[in-house]
């Protein structure tokens, strides 16, 4: 398990760095996708299956598609040609270093942080989270789920109508 932890953390950090370093915004966005996937894998190794899956569905799926759409609307060329501003970069590095130093100092002095977390009680907590969320959603909150169906219908009508080809004439 700890080997997996290092692999996925490494993937996250490397691609997180690539997000900043890449000159092409599309490559940056795609690096962010991989970084998010590493995060999702970390959640799954912690037995948090639901959060892991949602991380992939919502962040790597929906949010990143939104990002890519916005990038498509921007002018990529001008982004690529922009000169590096060394003063701003130096300032950024300073802030990061200061933050890391502060964090390590505080965490080093925090006694409960050295204790191990309490183990979850055996098998009951494992593999159950998706099932529980699903059960709650389809039994207790079933009414709300039906309302969301109507909401999606409205959204569908809206998308169809607003994106329809514009008619001729004035």
């Amino acid at each position: 398990m700890s080997l997996l932890f290092y692999i996925f953390s490494g993937v996250m950090l490397v691609f997180g760095l690539l997000v900043v370093v890449n000159r092409n915004p599309v490559s940056s966005a795609l690096s962010l996708v991989v970084s998010f996937m590493g995060l999702a894998a970390l959640f799954i190794t912690l037995n948090a299956y639901f959060i892991g899956v949602i991380q992939i569905l919502v962040y790597t799926g929906a949010v990143m598609v939104l990002f890519l759409f916005i990038i498509m609307l921007l002018d990529i060329k001008s982004e690529q040609c922009r000169k590096l501003n060394y003063v701003a970069m130096g300032g950024g590095v300073m802030i990061v270093l200061a933050f890391v130093a502060q964090l390590t100092m505080i965490l080093a002095g925090y006694a409960p942080g050295k204790q191990r977390l309490v183990e979850l009680p055996g098998d009951a907590a494992v593999h159950q989270d998706v099932k529980r969320v699903g059960e709650a959603l389809f039994t207790h909150f079933n009414f709300h789920l039906q309302l969301l169906g109507v909401l999606l219908l409205i959204a569908t009508i809206g998308v169809v109508v607003l994106s329809r080809r514009q008619g001729e004439g004035n």
Binding site: H144, L148, G158, R164, Q166, G167, E168, G169
Partner: protein
Amino acid sequence: MLPYYLEICVVVLGSLMLCMELFAGRRSRAKIAMVGVAGLGVIFALLMFAVCSPGEDLQYWGIYHFDKWAAFYKGLALISTLLVLVMAREFAPVFKHYTSQDEEKSGIGEFYCLPIFVCSGLMWMASAKDLVTIFVSLELVTMGFYVLVAFMRRNVGSLEAGVKYLILGALSTGFLVYGIAWTFGVSGTFNLEELSVVLAGDDIPSAPVMFAFALLIAGIGFKIAVVPFQIWVPDVYQGAAMPVTAYLSVASKAAGFIVFLRVVDPFLAAPSIREPAIYLMVFVTCATLIYGNLAAIAQKNIKRLLAYSSIAHAGFLLMALPALGAAGTIAGPGPESAISFYLAGYLLMTLLCFLVLTVVRVATNGEDLTALEGLGKRSPFLAFAMLVGVASLAGIPLTVGFFGKFFLFNIAIQNAMQNGLWIVVFLAVLGAATGFYYYFKIIRAMYWEGSVSEGEVTGLKVGRLAMLAIILLVVAVFFFGIFPAPLLGLTL
């Protein structure tokens, strides 16, 4: 009949109209709006059969509640949707101008369907007594309005209004969800009745509860347009199509207020935070009264003027809130009754004004005060209807607006005698006086300004259904202005 069938009927009606739009021939497609109007009328009649005995609270699955408030606000939602459909039919020429001349491409069929689905959301809001249902149904309504506001897609103003409403609406949703999360974190429940039990306890920390309360007020305050969450109102009201503006200002506000009342109630009843919560409410009330009334004075565009007046009316409605949780100490109708009566009256007079304005807008292609000039000569009937609506908005005796303001002032004054917050009453009197000025600007434009040559007199055509609606609304404004008891009886 089981009350929750009502919303199902509404959704089925909407789906039916969508299918009609898709499959029916060209001629029967023109009748979609009529099908909607008739269907809503039938559902309103069904609502009468679903009415429960007073004081009863029917519960289904612990989620859906049906009490007298739910029934009352469901009725308001149905009637306003019905009248908005009538208005939308009148508005169709302008609408086609900004979408497409071709009936099929203009999407006008969908324009008639969407308010129906929004109506189902409004009705669910009226039945919601827990934060999850409130959130989901509120989002359902808001999503419908995002589409409706931006519907005239060849009109820059409409698109701008759509984007502004989308962004600020999403922001307010964020506030609301955050507030719900804090409420759940403090109390461990979504249910408002359980919440009031939990908040009544002594060991509740007041700071997080206040934080949750403020966030909830911010979230719902956006929907009912109270200061400082009113920034979107003027632009969106001005940019949206006339029927959508009317729908926003009446139905969205009424449903928002019932939710507001239900959410605020447990917080105001909690002894630990009652006092700061009331001061917060008073601050919001005063700001809304000042801003709405003073900003309306300078407006030249009628829709903008009515937007600020809508903010001002929210201020008047908020006056009654500090009396919540102090029931029994107020003589006359309680705060909930007064607010409900006012909202019903507000529905009648606002929709009356917007119906007349829709006809004028279609005929003159203008939305400024100048478009109304000479209306008294061009169409004495429409001018009289507008006069009645505006007079009622100002609160002149013999109109329903007078009794609405009367009941609210009654509560505000008794409140002030108890807690000494006379500033609210003072500002409200000032606001009502200012109201007279800016509403009379409309009347002056209609009767004293502009000269009309004989040739223009035939410019205004009113559809038969719209004519009937205008007549009924004028009669209702007068009737409930002289005999408020039948309407008030529904809210007691």
